[in-house]
C-alpha cells in the first residue's frame, strides 16, 4: 500500500518536473506562442474572478439594506460603485472576447478567400464577423471561466452565420450591438424595438445581385 503511494508520488514529481521545464525546451517561436496564448487566458480568468467578487458584494449590500444594517444613502453609494466596477470589468471582458474573435473570423475569411473560395461566398464571409460577435456574449455570461472553449465554440456557428440575428447601431452612442440586445453595453440606452442593420444589409446585397 505504502509502496504504491511512494511510486505514485515519484511519478507525480517526475511529471511535474518535466512540465516545469517544458516551456523552456521548445524553439523560440513556440516559447513566444506560449507566452501569448497563456496571457489571453489569464486576462479572461482574472476579469471573471473580479466580476464574480463584485456580484457577491452587490448581493451582500442588498441583504444588508433589507435588514436595516445599511442606510439608504450608503446603499446607493456602494451600489453605484460596485455596479460601475462590474460594468467596467464586463466591458473589458466583452472587448477581449469580441476583439479577438472578430479578428480571427476576418482572418479565417481571408484565408478561405485566398485559398480560392468562390466570389459568391463573399457576402457570407462578410456576415461572419456579425456572428462571431454574437456567439461570444452568452459565453461571457454563462461560464466565462471556460474561455478556452470560446474559439472552438464559435466555429460550428460559422456555418449558419447567415441565419443569425445581426447588428443594430445604438441610437445614442453609435456602438454596434447585437439585434437582440435590450440595452447598449456602452451607454446603457434602451435598444428594444430597433431594426437590425443586417436586414437592410441583406436587402442591399440581394438587390445588387
Amino acid at each position: 500500500m505504502t509502496i504504491a503511494l511512494i511510486i505514485l508520488f515519484v511519478c507525480f514529481t517526475l511529471a511535474m518536473a518535466w512540465q516545469t521545464l517544458s516551456p523552456f525546451l521548445g524553439g523560440s517561436q513556440e516559447q513566444l506562442r506560449f507566452d501569448l496564448l497563456e496571457d489571453e487566458l489569464r486576462q479572461v480568468e482574472e476579469l471573471t474572478t473580479r466580476k464574480n467578487l463584485y456580484l457577491d458584494n452587490l448581493r451582500e449590500i442588498e441583504i444588508d439594506r433589507e435588514l436595516d444594517k445599511l442606510a439608504e444613502k450608503d446603499y446607493v453609494e456602494l451600489k453605484r460603485r460596485y455596479e460601475r466596477e462590474t460594468v467596467r470589468i464586463m466591458r473589458e471582458l466583452d472587448d477581449l472576447h469580441g476583439g479577438r474573435g472578430w479578428e480571427s473570423r476576418v482572418e479565417d475569411a481571408l484565408t478561405e478567400l485566398s485559398a480560392g473560395g468562390s466570389r459568391a461566398r463573399l457576402p457570407e464571409a462578410s456576415a461572419k464577423p456579425t456572428e462571431s460577435k454574437k456567439s461570444k456574449k452568452p459565453k461571457t455570461d454563462k461560464a466565462s471561466t471556460k474561455k478556452k472553449k470560446s474559439s472552438k465554440a464559435s466555429k460550428p456557428s460559422q456555418d449558419n452565420a447567415v441565419t443569425s440575428p445581426s447588428l443594430v447601431d445604438c441610437p445614442e452612442c453609435g456602438k454596434e450591438m447585437e439585434a437582440n440586445a435590450k440595452f447598449c453595453s456602452e451607454c446603457g440606452a434602451n435598444l428594444v424595438g430597433l431594426k437590425p442593420l443586417a436586414d437592410t444589409d441583406d436587402a442591399q446585397i440581394s438587390a445588387a445581385e
Binding site: T13, M16, Q19, T20, E45, T49, R59, D68, T145
Partner: protein, 749 residues
C-alpha cells in the same frame, strides 16, 4: 533495492533544491510577468511538493514495515503497537512532526496554486515564491537539523523499537498533533498572500478577497487541535480541567486569537477599505506567532507537559523566526504609506467600531497570554528570579476580557454599518434587550433552584457576578442572533413567498459566510456557558480506605477496593467505586492507572468521567497503597462542562458552513468532478468536527471511557477464569474485549 534511508533523504534534498530554484523562478515570473516563468513556477511548486510527499510516504512505509535501521522509527514505534498508533508515531516525534508540517504546507500550497491557476495572476507567482521560500526554510531544518531518515551506524537491537510515549497512545492524541500542526502549517498561505500584496504594491482589497477562505483553514484546524488537546488533558492527563494555561497550549492559542481578530477585521477592509495596515500587521503577527510558538515548544525554552517534542532544533527555528520577522517587517514598513485607509470611521456607534473594538480585545488577550507565558522566563533571564504565573493570574485578566468580547459579539451582530441612528437603535436593540431582561432571571432562577443550590457551593461575590454577567451576555448574544435571522427570514418570506424552513435554508445557502459566522458565535456562546459553570465547580483531593464514603455536592461516593489486571504491554490498577444521589445509585465508577512495561515510570490515568449537559462527575485515581488498598482520588463535580465540547463542535461546523465553496469555487476545481470532491472533502471534515463530542459521549456512557473495560478481559468474574488470566495470549484478550473492537481502536494488529 533502494533502502528507505537513501530514498527518503534524497527526496528531501531534491525537494530543497527544487524549492530554492522554484523560489527564484517565481521571483522572475512575478517581476517580468512572463507566462513561461509563471507556468514554470506553478509546476515547480507541484514538483517540490511531490518530492516532499515522497519523503512522507517513505517514512510512513518505514514505520509500517518496522524498519528499525532508521533512528526515528526505532525511537517512536515498536512491533507491538497497533496500526492506528503506528500511523500516529509519524508525528509522535520531533523530526516526523516537522516532516508532517512541511507536507501540510506543501499540500496547501499545491491546492492554492491549482485553484488560483487562472486567477490572481499578479499575486500567484509571489504566493508560490513565499510558500517555496518557507518550505526551503523548513526543509533546511529537516535536512541539516533533524533528518527523520537518519540511520544507526551500529544497530543495537534491530528487532525492536522503543515504542510511542504511553501518554500519546490514546486516539485523541493521535489526532491532536496533526490538527494543530495542520493549523500552524496552513497559516503559510494567507501570509503568502499578504506578502504578495506588499511585494506587488497592490494595496486594494484583492489580497483579502483571495486569502479570506484560506484564513479560515488554519483557524478551523487550530480550533480542532486545541479542542482535542483540551479533551486529552481533561480525560487522560488528570489536570482536572480542559485548559490549564500550559505554555504549549498557549503557544497554539496565540495564533488562534490573532486569526480570530483578522477574520473580523478583513470584513471591514472588504466593505469600507479601512484597516489595511492593521490587517497586514495581524497577518504577519499570526504567522510569526505560529513559528514563535513552535520555537518555544521545541527549543525547550519553556517547560510544560509537551516535553516529548523538545530537541536541539530550537536554534534553527529561531533563525527562521528572525528571518520571517525581518523580511515581513521591512516589506511592511516599505509599503506603509501606500497602506493608507480609503475611508475614515464615521461614528463610534457603528459596526466598524464594534469590530475594531473586538480586534483590540483579541489583541490584548493575545498580549496577556504572551506575557503570562514568557514573563517567568524573561524574569529568570534578567534577574535570576524564578516566578510562576498560574491559572489564577490568567483568569484574572482573561475572564473580564472574555465577557467584554461576548457582549460585543451580541452588539456587533445587529449594529448597522457607518452609524446608528436612534430609530435604528430602537428597531435593532430594543427587542433583544427586553428578551434578555425577561429570559435571564427565569433561566438563572430555574437552574439555581432546580439544581445549583443542591450542589452546596457558595461562590465568591466576584465569581458569582462574573458567572451571572456571562450568562446574561450569552442570552443577549443569542437573542440578537435570533432577531437578526428572523428579520432576514421574514424579509425573504415577504419577498419570495417562501415558508419558514425554506427561507432559513436559503439564507444559509446564499449567505453562508454571514450565517456560518453566526453558527460559530453560537458555539462560542455555548463555551461561555461552560466557563460560567466553573463558578459552581467543586474539586476535592481525597484519600479513602476500602468501604469508606465521601460526600461531594449531593453525590455520595463509596470506594470498594482495588483490582489489578495484567495486559501484554501494561498493568492496570482499577479503583471500584459507586456514586449515589438522594439515596439512589446513579453510577458505577472505575478510575484506573495504567503502567506500561516500556515506561514503568510514566503511569497514565484512566479517568472516569460521567458527563451530562448539566454537570460532569470526574474521578481520577491519583495514588494507591497496594498493601492496605487505601487510595487517593481527585474528584470533582463541574457544571456545564459538556457545553464546552458542544460549543467547540458547533464552532467547527459553523466554520465549515463559512468555508463551503461557492459555485465559482467549484468551477475553479475543474476538471476534477467538483461535486464529488466537495462531498468527500467536506464530508470528511464534518465527520472530523463531530468526532470529539461523539467520542466523549460514547466514553461517558460506556465502559470504554473508564478502566472498567479492562475488567472484561477476565470474563464475568468467575474465579477459575481469574486464575487463567495470565496464561491468556494477548490475541485471546483482544478477542474477549468486545468494547475495544467496537470502538475501533485498532487493536487488530
Amino acid at each position: 533495492m533502494i533502502d528507505n534511508q537513501d530514498l527518503g533523504t534524497f527526496a528531501l534534498y531534491y525537494a530543497l533544491v527544487v524549492c530554492l530554484i522554484g523560489t527564484a523562478i517565481s521571483v522572475v515570473a512575478g517581476k517580468t510577468g512572463s507566462q513561461r516563468f509563471v507556468h514554470a513556477s506553478r509546476f515547480a511548486s507541484y514538483t517540490g511538493a511531490g518530492a516532499i510527499f515522497v519523503a512522507g510516504a517513505v517514512l510512513m512505509h518505514a514505520i509500517l514495515t518496522h524498519d528499525f535501521s532508521i533512528q526515528y522509527v526505532a525511537s517512536f514505534s515498536d512491533h507491538t503497537m497497533p496500526l492506528f498508533y503506528l500511523i500516529g508515531s509519524f508525528w509522535g516525534g520531533q523530526a516526523g512532526s516537522l516532516l508532517f508540517w512541511t507536507s501540510v504546507v506543501a499540500a496547501s500550497m499545491v491546492s492554492c496554486v491549482y485553484i488560483y491557476r487562472r486567477s490572481y495572476q499578479d499575486f500567484m507567482p509571489w504566493v508560490s515564491a513565499v510558500c517555496m521560500a518557507v518550505l526551503s526554510g523548513l526543509l533546511l531544518i529537516l535536512v541539516f537539523g533533524s533528518n527523520p531518515f537518519e540511520g544507526f551506524s551500529i544497530i543495537n537491537d534491530p528487532t525492536t523499537g522503543k515504542g510511542l510515549n504511553p501518554l500519546l497512545q490514546t486516539p485523541k492524541m493521535v489526532m491532536h498533533p496533526p490538527s494543530l500542526l495542520a493549523g500552524l502549517a496552513t497559516m503559510t498561505i494567507p501570509y503568502a498572500f499578504a506578502m504578495a500584496a506588499l511585494i506587488t504594491g497592490n494595496m486594494s482589497n484583492a489580497w483579502v478577497k483571495a486569502a479570506r477562505k484560506w484564513i479560515l483553514i488554519p483557524w478551523l484546524f487550530l480550533s480542532i487541535g486545541n479542542m482535542l488537546g483540551g479533551m486529552w488533558a481533561y480525560e487522560e492527563l488528570g489536570w482536572g480541567g480542559y485548559w490549564a494555561w500550559d505554555p504549549v497550549e498557549n503557544a497554539a492559542f496565540f495564533p488562534w486569537l490573532m486569526t480570530s481578530a483578522l477574520i473580523h477585521s478583513i470584513m471591514i477592509q472588504e466593505r469600507r477599505g479601512m484597516l489595511k495596515r492593521w490587517n497586514i500587521g495581524l497577518m504577519i503577527a499570526s504567522f510569526v506567532l505560529t513559528i514563535f510558538g513552535t520555537y518555544i515548544t521545541r527549543s525547550g525554552l519553556i517547560e510544560s507537559v509537551h516535553t516529548f517534542a523538545q530537541s536541539e532544533i530550537g536554534d534553527y527555528f529561531l533563525a527562521l523566526l528572525l528571518t520571517v520577522l525581518a523580511v515581513s517587517v521591512s516589506l511592511f514598513l516599505w509599503r506603509w504609506r501606500d497602506l493608507k485607509s480609503d475611508q475614515r470611521l464615521d461614528s463610534p456607534a457603528s459596526r466598524e467600531s464594534a469590530f475594531i473594538f473586538n480586534n483590540w480585545l483579541l489583541v490584548v488577550m493575545t498580549l496577556v497570554v504572551l506575557f503570562g507565558t514568557m514573563w517567568p522566563k524573561i524574569k529568570e533571564g534578567l534577574f535570576g528570579q524564578e516566578v510562576a504565573i498560574g491559572p489564577p493570574w490568567f483568569n484574572r485578566w482573561m475572564v473580564p476580557l472574555g465577557i467584554l468580547l461576548l457582549l460585543l459579539m451580541g452588539i456587533g451582530t445587529i449594529i448597522p454599518w457607518r452609524r446608528t441612528t436612534m430609530a435604528a437603535f430602537k428597531r435593532q436593540f430594543v427587542i433583544p434587550i427586553l428578551a434578555t431582561a425577561a429570559i435571564s432571571p427565569v433561566l438563572l432562577g430555574a437552574y439555581w433552584y432546580g439544581r445549583g443550590a443542591a450542589l452546596g457551593v457558595t461562590p465568591t461575590p466576584l465569581e458569582s457576578a462574573y458567572a451571572i454577567i456571562t450568562v446574561v451576555c450569552c442570552i443577549f448574544a443569542i437573542t440578537t442572533m435570533i432577531a437578526d435571522v428572523w428579520r432576514a427570514m421574514s424579509a425573504r418570506m415577504r419577498k419570495h413567498g417562501e415558508g419558514a424552513f425554506e427561507s432559513l435554508s436559503r439564507l444559509f445557502i446564499k449567505q453562508r459566510r454571514r450565517y456560518g459566522g453566526y453558527v460559530v458565535h453560537l458555539g462560542i456562546v455555548c463555551s461561555f456557558i461552560a466557563f460560567a459553570g466553573n463558578a459552581l465547580k467543586i474539586e476535592q483531593d481525597i484519600s479513602l480506605d476500602p468501604g469508606e464514603s465521601y460526600q461531594i455536592g449531593d453525590y455520595t461516593i463509596t470506594y470498594e477496593g482495588l483490582t489489578l489486571e495484567n495486559e501484554a504491554d501494561k498493568d492496570i490498577i482499577i479503583g471500584k467505586m459507586t456514586a449515589m444521589r438522594n439515596g439512589e445509585h446513579v453510577y458505577d465508577l472505575r478510575p484506573g492507572k495504567a503502567v506500561f512495561h516500556s515506561s514503568p515510570n510514566m503511569p497514565t490515568s484512566e479517568i472516569d468521567i460521567k458527563t451530562t449537559p448539566l454537570e460532569d462527575l470526574y474521578v481520577a485515581l491519583v495514588n494507591h497503597d497496594p498493601r492496605t488498598q487505601a487510595a487517593a482520588f481527585k474528584i470533582f463535580v463541574a457544571p456545564f462542562t459538556w457545553w464546552f465540547w458542544l460549543g467547540g463542535t458547533i464552532l467547527l461546523l459553523g466554520t465549515l458552513i463559512c468555508m463551503w465553496p461557492t459555485r465559482y469555487g467549484i468551477e475553479a476545481l475543474k476538471p476534477t468532478p467538483g461535486v464529488f470532491v466537495r462531498a468527500t472533502a467536506f464530508g470528511a471534515l464534518a465527520v472530523l468536527c463531530v468526532t470529539p463530542l461523539a467520542v466523549l459521549t460514547y466514553e461517558s456512557n460506556s465502559e470504554w471511557g473508564s478502566a472498567k473495560r479492562f475488567e472484561r478481559l477476565i470474563g464475568d468474574g468467575d474465579g477459575d477464569e481469574n486464575k487463567n488470566k495470565l496464561e491468556q495470549t494477548p490475541r485471546d484478550k483482544v478477542r474477549t474485549d468486545q468494547n475495544r473492537e467496537a470502538s475501533g481502536a485498532a487493536e487488530a494488529s
